[in-house]
């Protein structure tokens, strides 16, 4: 493996400005939800509530942040779900996960805009955020009152207990998947510029998403730097 600094001679556009703004709205609300949620989840994390000015404030803003996340994620979902539909090569990619983890990219099939791992993150967060939204409203007095006004549905205490249990499990899984997502972005060098500048280097596309790179080159959405 060559250790020379990857050049940026070819840059490929990966995310539009609005997609990046949308992503960071989701990212920031997710982090704030995680911090406020964890401080309510386990006493070990109680000190995190100080970041919000106390547990009462954390409790108060958590549902509103949740609504922001849900709306923001819906935006990401509408933008990206066509590229996240499963393909046959995804199963090959998953079967060779060992090579993914050891960065033996030459053993892997050519990948479109998203690999199977990214698709897994996408779909699992979709399911988990939908679950968190529904159960979260079940734990939120004002939200429940609103739903009761709107639909005439009044949650029983037993249903609220289930909401609490399911909410905590879904939150743990969502955070675990978030850790994977963030770690992958750090581990696979050159990824973060996709969400900060909107572009990646041609080499990054060649190495990780070759099928996508070919299409982008065909479309001509490649910038060549001097």
């Amino acid at each position: 493996m060559s250790q020379t600094k990857p050049s940026a001679r070819v840059r490929v556009r990966r995310y539009s400005g609005s997609a990046r703004v949308n992503h960071w709205i989701v990212a920031i609300s997710f982090v704030l939800l995680m911090l406020s949620g964890l401080s309510l989840f386990h006493p070990t994390f109680f000190p995190l509530s100080a970041l919000f000015g106390g547990l009462q404030v954390a409790r108060e803003i958590h549902p509103w942040l949740g609504l922001l996340l849900a709306i923001g994620f819906l935006g990401l979902f509408i933008r990206f779900f066509p590229q996240n539909l499963p393909e046959r090569t995804d199963w090959v990619w998953l079967a060779r996960l060992r090579h993914v983890l050891t960065a033996n990219d030459h053993y892997l099939p050519e990948v479109g805009k998203y690999n199977a791992g990214q698709k897994f993150v996408f779909w699992s967060q979709f399911v988990l955020i939908a679950t968190l939204l529904v159960t979260g409203i079940g734990l939120w007095d004002q939200g429940l009152a609103y739903v009761e006004n709107l639909l005439g549905f009044k949650a029983t205490i037993e249903q609220q207990r289930w909401a609490a249990l399911i909410h905590s499990i879904a939150a743990v899984l969502a955070i675990a998947i978030w850790i994977v997502h963030v770690y992958a972005a750090i581990w696979v060098r050159g990824t973060i510029s996709a969400m900060t500048r909107g572009t990646v280097t041609g080499g990054w596309g060649w190495r990780h998403h070759r099928k996508w790179l070919r299409k982008e080159i065909e479309k001509g959405s490649v910038e060549k730097a001097a």
Binding site: Q3, Q160, S168, V172, R207
Partner: protein, 313 residues
């Protein structure tokens, strides 16, 4: 007649229990006090209750609470449910006894049962918002309450209510402020028929036995004490003429215990959750240590350039 609790002196008295007598504290671990105080209990003898609501009024008066003027829907219950201001409520049930054909008017004073194993305290996420004193009283410490309503989900008796005014949870305190200076709860003080008595739990159980014996001698063969073991016993107990069917008394649960869903939420999901998060983070760390960053090589860049249509410069 159970000997009434003597009136207090007019001299200031130091509280008999406080911060140092806490045996359970929500979302915290406490070092239990070396010696547990005598467990107290309030005994509500349903068979002696005339439904006058003096206890309900005394509760409002002592705790300086005010209830809104309600509406009459044809039943005696007023208000129709416990509220953030109504910490105790007389509930009236009309029941036709199939064995005797008699119409029985069952009146139960509802309110916090002060469980030995309190579900509210188990569910509470805010350190110190719910405490249990060594005499058994379960008390809400409002300055620590965050108004999340988890106590409502934890309670097997559906007791706590969240105030819409200050977003804090309220329920019967068993008049911990009165008990601390040697008085009985306000409801007990006000009860004109001694349907409510208060004292050490052992004595209350003995007193209940006498009452049950009396009830049985008068034909209530299923009379008994309601001190449900599923929550470790309670510090508010009932003498019920029909103890085999507590549900008759406005839905008093037959075998209350902390819901298994709440136990899973506050037990398994916490420990498994912490483990999953820890393992995921550890996996990332170890992977990075073993694998190092996944860098794009110069060769990758050149290949991309070739694909894009020849070199530059």
């Amino acid at each position: 007649m159970y000997p009434p609790i003597a009136n207090p002196t007019t001299e200031p008295v130091a509280p008999k229990f406080g911060e140092n007598d806490i045996i359970r504290r929500s979302a915290s671990t406490v070092a239990p006090p070396a010696q547990r105080q005598t467990e107290v209990a309030k005994l509500i003898d349903v068979s002696k209750c005339i439904g006058c609501k003096a206890c309900q009024t005394a509760c409002l008066a002592w705790n300086d609470l005010e209830e809104e003027v309600g509406v009459n829907t044809g039943v005696y219950e007023n208000p129709h449910d416990l509220t953030p201001n109504t910490w105790t409520l007389m509930r009236y049930t009309e029941w036709e006894n199939p064995e005797t054909g008699n119409l029985e008017w069952l009146i139960r004073k509802d309110g916090c049962m002060h469980c030995e194993d309190p579900g509210c305290l188990k569910a509470c996420p805010s350190p110190g918002a719910i405490v249990q004193y060594s005499n058994g009283i379960v008390d809400f410490i409002h300055e620590n309450c965050i108004g999340c309503g988890y106590c409502v989900k934890g309670c097997p008796f559906n007791i706590p209510r969240i105030s819409k005014v200050d977003n804090k949870a309220y329920k019967c305190t068993l008049c911990s402020d009165r008990v601390a200076v040697g008085l009985g709860p306000a409801c007990q003080k006000a009860c004109p028929t001694q349907a409510i008595v208060f004292g050490p739990k052992d004595e209350m159980k003995k007193w209940a036995e006498k009452r049950i014996k009396d009830l049985k001698s008068r034909g209530y063969e299923n009379a008994g004490l309601y001190d449900p073991p599923g929550v470790g016993g309670t510090h508010v107990m009932y003498v019920l003429p029909h103890a085999d069917k507590p549900e008759l008394y406005a839905g008093l649960p037959k075998d209350p215990k902390i819901s298994p869903v709440v136990e899973a939420w506050k037990g398994l999901s916490k420990y498994a959750g912490m483990a999953i998060l820890g393992l995921t983070a550890a996996f990332g760390f170890i992977h990075y240590i073993l694998q190092g960053p996944n860098r794009v090589t110069e060769e990758d860049e050149e290949n991309a350039e070739k694909l894009a249509g020849g070199g530059t410069q």
